[in-house]
Symmetry: C2
């Protein structure tokens, strides 16, 4: 390809809403352009890399025995009503009607479609196991699309669905996918962590996320360097702290003027924040407001909380709702003296707290030296986030934490969907049994962004060699110099003949401009044709490391081949 | 691949709504399954062939210099409002709103998106010409989806958009696409005709359709075997007939009881239907009812009619609307004595009619021996369909006709979209000019169906060799015979090692059942492993022609390679 005939509009500047490096570089290097919030067009360079990632995914899925199909994005509402998710999915699902007024959605995921397909076409245990996948466009109307294609509303996903006769079969299919995913992300040169994760609105019994380690990741990971335990913070557990019991002191109301935060209160009272009992008020889907208690240095884990209480929606209570319960404005809430009808849930760590501080439910007042006999707790459980420095639930060692971008997620669905949609098979004894399912997703477009997030420098993208949009750029220093132009053309043709994907930068631009663009785009190897022609030489410039090397013109092909096969 | 681990659910029977052979075979051979009306899932076999077609399209598009990108299916309304098509597209466009109430559509086509992309990223004549394409999913809410993936609501299309500095450039880009399309459909082994076509709601100055000749085609083609002229009936022209002038006879009202059709009237009066002046009443978008006149043996061409009158909508007038104009019920309408305010349009052929028959605007009466001086015609033009047997407009020879499936359509758009969307470039003199555009579409999924429509027999699909989902099927006659099973496995592995795409039918089924499935699916070559093993031989069975051939086991690879390279 020649730049003069190509479409690679690079930019010097990008708009300020591009917050992450990958978003900025994808715009600047001309990989994507925004069509609407969270909706992008993939330009030639972006498209080429996307296809390379797709091919890796396809090869590894096929290696694992999965079979590719292609379902529609438009899905009729009936199947989603059968699984009840039509009513549960909420605003994230794009819904529409056809000309006859029939309800459809744009598939945010395809459990229903694949389960329906398999229930209609598979009837015997002899036809199982089966693992079907697709690389297809998904739609999620994100509340806050951001970070370019990391959190977008139309995106490409590889999703797979396995169907087995029993749990043992599912475990095997799941293990195969786990291994395939490792191969895929290894081949994408990603630094990632596999973590236990919550199953969310997909459901099922267990799941793992594949998290690309990155500061811009929207997920927090907790992991143990000692035993390898790792989990999404949504799911991560740690050993509960046991506080040293103190002899009971006398409780006392203290004036804490305008002191509403844990930190200020701890400072004001000169105590550790873990001596404060934090009270957070929530309202559930039935508009019931309840109180949630935990040590002051802990954060509520809303997913754990929802699970513990078996509720579907959780919203922080409004000022009005707080007032109804505490008769006080926010900042001074506590469990002492509260109406007995208010439900109270407390974290397990609260069990060993003594002589702690609570809000007095009175403006500008807290109570110190409170103990558990002063109020009633309806239920105890693990409702806090595990944190760096906590002790590992598996081996007791100190836990670490980092941020991650979720690029893959695998789920053991069990019989959730097969029971709802009646996807059954006849077993060896002719008895009808529900299929046992798993589902497995990879965000293809997000993986592209994650690769860039981990592979860049101040000049632009530094592609892993096999993912670069072009393998080699041929750059004549001065395209108007006939000798240079001719040699560039000749080398370009030679490389093409050796099946090397080469870009000839034949623009009439200063060589500095060309270098800048080619480095921004991230082509791993530049062949620079300049004054050294007179000595029968050209210069090889490597994107990584910035080394250069003079080589004889006759050796170029061999040099390029070495570069691409040696690593 | 082994059938035991594959997903190819074949069917003996299909539902009666599968009217065409391709639709029936795609269901029976397990290529597709219906998800909703006009919405399909591509199963593994269908998906494989789809990819082969896509690759042909991609290769030829790239050969022509076009560059691949990928735009979104979700398109914000604003661009469509800019081009006015938001208001013009009608019910065929799927529309929806996001969670913030913003309007979107599911792209039925991408002129706006590509024009927007190019206007934002190209500014100079030096960056043109440019031809961008994508292979992407389109959405059209067809009034009557049918024939499986031939007329579906979610389908895969290759669409390309060219941007040139002037008409001459456009002509060149258009010619390149014309040639690429010929190469594509030639490589798909299709029998097709390229015809002049109407530009419809895409717009532009001229266009060609690529029509696969087929009885189930929804389009009618007119073509001249002599000079090669060919056009969609929507667009086709023929030489107007000149009727022999008769001496004027006296007009006379005749009683024609309950005779409402042209055929019955001609029979009743013992005349040629061309002696009857057919009057058809239409209502336009402004609810104006007008009369359209043509010889009784001719059909109105509504597209020509709309163009001639410059109107946007055309509906046959209702009984009520007809009564308003003629004061009579339908079946007896005519131009004589009608209110002068009623607009009358007549076909050019009417000009030479004499002593003809018209409706009397009175129930059960017609008038005979009417001549043109009896009424006023507001405008004459070509408003009829050309028909088989007419004389070619180019060479005068007799025209032929056939039915066709439109698989490709190319348009010269000119500056329609670039002017509406202000897609301009700076020319050599620094002057702003609108880009000159073309657009080019291929229905990928429809092409798949068209190939099957032209390549099948009573046993199933007969794929062109290079498009078959598998190149070879290895079939042990009795999988329980250990010797057969082992040899089958060995041959299967050998073929795989030679990069031959092979299906091993290892099901425990009668060999007849296997043959039926493999023939239905259309694999071009079967290797049957049976009793001849004892003589060191297997049988090759060819899908086309039904020949068989005994070959030595050691010669199999060579035989297969010969079969695939000789044609």
């Amino acid at each position: 390809m020649k730049t003069s005939k190509y479409f690679m509009p690079t930019l010097r500047e990008v708009s300020s809403d591009a917050e992450t490096i990958s978003h900025q570089l994808m715009l600047r290097a001309g990989l994507i352009r925004k069509q609407a919030a969270g909706i992008y067009t993939y330009l030639p360079l972006g498209f080429k890399v996307l296809k390379k990632i797709e091919n890796i995914v396809r090869e590894e899925m096929e290696r694992s025995g999965a079979i590719e199909i292609l379902a529609s994005a438009l899905q009729n509402a009936e199947l989603w009503q059968e699984s009840h998710r039509w009513y549960e999915y909420g605003a994230e699902m794009f819904r529409l009607q056809d000309r006859h007024g029939r309800d459809f959605c744009l598939g945010p995921t395809h459990e229903e479609i694949f389960t329906d397909l398999v229930r209609n076409n598979i009837s015997s245990y002899r036809q199982l196991p089966l693992n079907l996948f697709q690389i297809q466009t998904k739609y999620r109307d994100e509340k806050r699309p951001r970070f370019g294609v990391i959190r977008s509303r139309e995106f490409i996903m590889k999703d797979a669905y396995s169907f087995d006769i029993d749990e043992e079969g599912l475990n095997k299919s799941y293990e195969e996918m786990y291994k395939a995913y490792r191969r895929i992300f290894d081949r994408c040169n990603l630094k990632y962590q596999v973590v236990e994760a919550d199953t969310g609105n997909i459901g099922g019994s267990s799941s793992h996320e594949f998290m690309v380690i990155s500061e811009v990741g929207e997920d927090s990971l907790i992991f143990c360097d000692n035993c390898g335990y790792s989990a999404n913070v949504e799911k991560a557990q740690a050993v509960d702290r046991q506080f040293v019991a103190e002899s009971i002191k006398k409780k006392e109301k203290v004036y804490t003027p305008n002191i509403k935060t844990i930190d200020k209160l701890a400072e004001f009272l000169s105590i550790e924040s873990s001596k404060i009992l934090k009270a957070v008020l929530y309202t559930d889907e039935k508009a019931r407001t309840f109180m949630c208690l935990l040590p002051g240095d802990r954060e509520v884990n809303e997913i754990k909380l929802k699970k513990l209480l078996g509720i579907k929606e959780l919203n922080l209570a409004s000022e009005e709702e707080i007032y109804k319960v505490t008769k006080c404005k926010p900042g001074f809430s506590g469990p002492v003296g509260i109406n007995k009808e208010v439900f109270i849930v407390a974290d397990n760590e609260v069990k060993t707290m003594t002589n702690f501080v609570v809000g007095a439910n009175e403006e500008d007042y807290h109570i110190i030296n409170v103990n558990l006999n002063e109020f009633n707790v309806n239920i105890y459980g693990d409702i806090k986030n595990a944190e760096e420095g906590d002790n590992c639930i598996k081996c007791g060692n100190k836990l670490s934490s980092s941020k991650g971008i979720e690029v893959g997620h695998i789920f053991k669905l069990g019989t959730k969907y097969s029971k709802l949609l009646k996807a059954t098979y006849l077993d060896k004894n002719g008895k009808e049994q529900p299929m046992v399912m798993g589902c497995y997703g990879i965000g293809i477009t997000r993986t592209l962004a994650a690769i860039i997030e981990q592979n860049n420098d101040e000049d632009g993208i530094c592609w892993p060699k096999h993912l670069a949009p072009f393998e080699v750029a041929v750059i004549p220093v001065n395209i108007k110099d006939e000798e240079q132009a001719n040699l560039a053309e000749k080398i370009y043709e030679q490389l093409k003949n050796h099946n090397i994907d080469v870009l000839l930068d034949d623009r009439d631009e200063r060589v500095g401009v060309k270098f800048k663009d080619i480095d921004l785009i991230g082509i791993p190897l530049k062949i620079v044709i300049g004054k050294k022609i007179s000595e029968g030489q050209v210069e090889l410039k490597f994107r990584s490391g910035k080394e250069t090397k003079l080589v004889n013109i006759g050796d170029i092909i061999e040099e390029v081949k070495n570069f691409y096969s040696l690593t």
